[in-house]
C-alpha cells in the first residue's frame, strides 16, 4: 500500500543544515495498522508530513499503491489527499463553526459527492465510533476523545487507501485515548482501513500490528506484534528502554 524508499529530508537554519531523515525505507501493507515511535527529534513527524505531501523532501521516493507522490502536480496531490489519504491531527483540526456531522461530511463535500450517499456514510461512521448521539453538537461542546473520534470518522469518509495520524492521542487522557485507538482498530477490522500513526504513547502503539522505532532520523528497529496487546506493550517498553539506556551509556 505504502512504500517509502531511501527518504532524505533536511532543514536549513541559517548556515546550519539539520538532517532529519537519513535514508529511511519501509513498507506498509494493505489493512495494516502501523505505528512510528521514537524520541523527540527522531524525525517521526517529519516522516509523516513527507508522506502526507505537507512538506517536500530532498531525496527518495514515496509510493502510494504504486503511484509516486513526488511526481504529482498540486491538483493531483489535492485529489490524492481527498480520496486516497485520511488525516487525523493531534489537535483535531475540526472546524468550529460546523457540527460533528458536518465536519465528518467535509471530504465528501469537497469531492462534491451526492448527498444521499454522503449522509448515509457519515451516519454509519458516527454509529461505528459511538458518536452518533452528539452529531448535532459543535466541537466546543464535546470532549477531546469525541473530537478525535469525529476526526477519525472524517478521515474515513472517502474510504482512503491510508489513514495518516499524527499523535492522535497526544492531547487526550487515558480513557479518551483508549476510545480513539479503539476507533482505529474498528476501522481496521470492519473497514479494512490501513493506518500509519505517529505516537509517543506505548499503550496506543501496542494495539498496532507493527511498530517502527526511529532514532536520529533512521529506523532503529521494527517490532511485529505477536501475542497479546499487553505482551506487545512490554516488548515495546523494553526496546524503548534499551534505546534510551543506550543513549545514557553513550553519554557515559
Amino acid at each position: 500500500m505504502l512504500q517509502v524508499k531511501h527518504l532524505y529530508k533536511s532543514y536549513q537554519s541559517g548556515t546550519i543544515k539539520y538532517e532529519v531523515l537519513k535514508d529511511v525505507s519501509f513498507e506498509v501493507m494493505e489493512g495494516e495498522f502501523v505505528a512510528v515511535m521514537g524520541p523527540s527529534g527522531s524525525g517521526k513527524t517529519t516522516l509523516l508530513n513527507c508522506i502526507s505531501c505537507f512538506i517536500p523532501y530532498d531525496n527518495g521516493e514515496i509510493l502510494l499503491k504504486g503511484t509516486s507522490l513526488s511526481k504529482l502536480n498540486e491538483k493531483q496531490i489535492a485529489k490524492v489527499r481527498n480520496e486516497k489519504l485520511g488525516f487525523v491531527f493531534q489537535d483535531f483540526m475540526l472546524l468550529d463553526g460546523l457540527t460533528v456531522f458536518e465536519n465528518v461530511c467535509i471530504p465528501k463535500i469537497i469531492d462534491e459527492a451526492p448527498y444521499e450517499e454522503m449522509e448515509k456514510k457519515a451516519e454509519n461512521l458516527l454509529k461505528l465510533f459511538g458518536i452518533d448521539d452528539i452529531k448535532d453538537k459543535y466541537p466546543a461542546e464535546i470532549s477531546g476523545g469525541q473530537k478525535q473520534r469525529t476526526a477519525v470518522a472524517r478521515a474515513l469518509m472517502n474510504n482512503p487507501f491510508l489513514i495518516l495520524a499524527d499523535e492522535p492521542t497526544g492531547n487526550l487522557d487515558s480513557k479518551s485515548s483508549e476510545a480513539v485507538i479503539g476507533a482505529f482498530v474498528k476501522a481496521q477490522k470492519e473497514m479494512k482501513a490501513t493506518t500509519f500513526m505517529v505516537t509517543h504513547d506505548s499503550f496506543s502503539a501496542s494495539y498496532c500490528d507493527r511498530v517502527i522505532v526511529m532514532k536520529d532520523g533512521k529506523i532503529y528497529k521494527e517490532l511485529i506484534r505477536s501475542g497479546s496487546q499487553r505482551m506487545f506493550m512490554d516488548r515495546l517498553l523494553e526496546v524503548l528502554g534499551a534505546m534510551n539506556g543506550g543513549d545514557e551509556h553513550d553519554c557515559k
Partner: protein
Amino acid sequence: MVVMSMTVNKVWEKLRKKNREPYQQFEFCVGFAVMLISSYLIMLYSPLIQRTLPEGGDSRMQVSMIFVVAAAGCVIFVIYAAGMFLRYKSKEVGVFLALGMDKGRIKKALLGEIARCMFKTAVIGIVAGSLMALLIGKVFEQIAKRVTNYSFEFTVKGITFGIMYALIITVVIMIMVFRFMKKTNIMDILNEQRKQEPIKKMVTSTYLVSGIALSVIGVFVGYILPAVVIRFMHHYLGGWTNIFYILVLIGLYRIMVYSVSCHRKGGNPQKYYRNMISYGMLKFMGRSIVRNMMVITLLVVGGLFSAFYIPLNNSSMQEILGQYEDMYSYSYTEDAKEVTQKEVEALAMKYNVEIKNYREARFLQVLGSGVNRDNVDKSGKLEEIYQKKYVVYECISASQYERLTGQKKDVAEGTYYMIQSPNVRENIFNHFDDMDQLYLDKEQLYMPMKYAGNLTYQCLVNGRGYDENARFVISDQDYGRIKAGTAQYLAVKQVLFDNTKGKQAVSFANELYKKFADQMSDKMNVSANYDDYKAESAKSDSMYCMAATYDPENPAMESDWKYEPNFQILKQEYGMLTYAVYLLLFLYVSVICLAAVGIISYARSQSVGLSSRQVFSDLEKLGANHSYLTKLLKKQIQKVYVLPTVLGSFVILVFEIMLLKLNDGVITKGEIYLIPVLMLVVGIVMLYQFGIYCYSTKKVKKILGLEE
C-alpha cells in the same frame, strides 16, 4: 436531513455565520478606515474647505501632510486587521487543504469572502463617511457662515477619491491573500494561527543609542540645517533634506525594538526577575508589536500636531490683537469721497457711541529703491537684485507722525524710520534698510535716504510692513521736498480714533465698514499686495494688480484688500469665526488620527491578550493567582500604550517648540505661555489613551477569565 444541500460555498457561509467575531472585527476595521478617510476627502474637496484654504498656502500643505499620515496609518491599520483575519482563516484553509481541496478553489473562495466583506464595508464606510462629512460640513457651515459664503457640497472629486481609497485598500488586502495562499507548506498555514513573531536579532543598548542618534540627525539635517543655511548663508538646500526624516522613523523604530527586546539584569536584578515573564512574552511578539507601536506613535504625532493648531492660532491672534493702539484705523487715497469726520460723528450719534481722539494725517506715496528677493538661482542661492525703482512707499512727516501717535522723534534730513510692529525681526527676505533712495518724478531726480531705525505703531502698519506695504517716517523737510517733487501717485489719508465700547459699537463699526467700502475710489479696489509701480510694469494677471475681494455687508469675511479698514472691535467680535473653518478642519484631522490610535491600540491589546492565553493558562497551572496574572496582563498591554503615546507626544512637543523658534527666530512671551497649553492638550490625549487602556484591559481580563 442536516446537510442536504451542502456545498463548499454553503460550508464557507456557515463558518462565516458561526464565527461572526473575526469577520465583524475585520469588517469594522475596514469600514472604520474607509469612513474616516472618505469623510475627510469629501470634506476636503467640498467648496467650503477648498475655497477657505488658500491655494499653495501653509494651511493647505499642513492639512495635506497630516492627511497623508492619517491615510497611511489607516492603510497600516487595515493591513493589520487583514493579517489577523487571515491568521484566523488559516486553520480553515489548512484543514481544507489537508482534506484534499484544490488550492485554486480555496483561493477563489477566500478571495470571494474578502471581496464580499470589502464591498459591503466599503459601501457602508463611504455612505457613513458621506453622512459624517455632511453632518460636520453643515456644522462648519453654520459656524463659519459669517466669515464665508461657501457652503458644504458633495463633489465628484471627493467621492471619487473616497472610492479610490477603498479600492486601494482592497487591492492591498487581495495582495495579502495571494501571498498567504502562495505558501506551499500546509504545516505553515495550519500553524499560522500559533505563529509567534520574535525579533531574531540580538538587541543591545547600541540599539537605543543609535536610535536616538538617528532621530537627532534626522531632525537636524531634515529641519534645522535648511533653516540655518537659509538664515546665515541665504542658500536653499532644496527638497533632498526631507529624505533625512526617514532617519527619524528608523531611529524611533530602533528605540521601540530596544524597549521591547532588550532587558538585562543590570543594577536591579529583583526588578528584572519580577518582569522576566512579561519581557519574554513581549519579545516573542516583537516584530508585530513594534510595528503597531510605530503606527500608534506616528498617529499620535499627527493627532497632536493638528490639535496644537487650535491653541497656537488662537494665541497668535490674541497677541496680535493686543498690539493695536487704536480701535479704528483706516486709510484711503485722496481721490476717494470717503467718510468725513463729520459723517463719522453723525454715525456715532445714531448708535449712541462717543468718538474719542479722532486724528488724521497724510502719507505721500513715492517710488523708491529696494532689493528684489523673489527668486533663487540654479544652485539654490537666493538672488538679491537691487532695483533703483522698486515699489511705491508711503511716507509721513515726523510732525504728523507725532500728532498721530504721540511719539516725538527727531528725524534728520536724508534719513528715515520704518514703521513696524513690536518685536519684529529682519529675515532673509525682508530687511529694514533696503530702501536708500526715493524718486522725485517731477524733477526726475533720486533723493538719497538712509535708514535710521524703526518706530513702533501697529495701527499704522500695512500688512507685514515691508516692500509694497512699507511705511516710513521722514523729516518735515524731506516730506516737503517729496510733496513738491512728485505727482505720479496720490497721497493717502490716514485716520485713527477710539470710541466707547458697547453693544451698539459693533453696529456702528459694521455700518462704518460698509460706508467706507461703498464710498471708496477705483484706485482703492486692489488686493493687499498691489503695488502701483509693479502693476504698471507687470502683466495684468500678476498678484500685484489684482482687484480686492471683500464683502461690504460682512466685515468678518476673509478679504484680500489693501485698504481694508482695521476695526479692532470687529476683529474681537469675529476673530474666532475667521479661524473657525481652519480650526474645525484641524480638529477633524486630529479626531481621525486619535480615533485610529484608539482603535489600533484596542485591537492590539486584544490580540496581545489572546495570543498569550496559553502562557496564562500554563502560569495558572504553575500556581500564579489572578492578581499576579492581571499584573502581567497589564504590563503586556501597557507596552502598546505607554511608549508610543509618550514618544509621540515628546516628538511633537519638541517639533512645535522648534517651529515657534525657527519661524521668526524668536520665542515670544505669548508663545512661552502657550507651552503649558500644549502640554495640557498632550495631557488630554494621554487621558484618552488611559481610558482606552482601562477599557481594553477590562475586556481582555474578561476573555481570559481574570475578572475579580
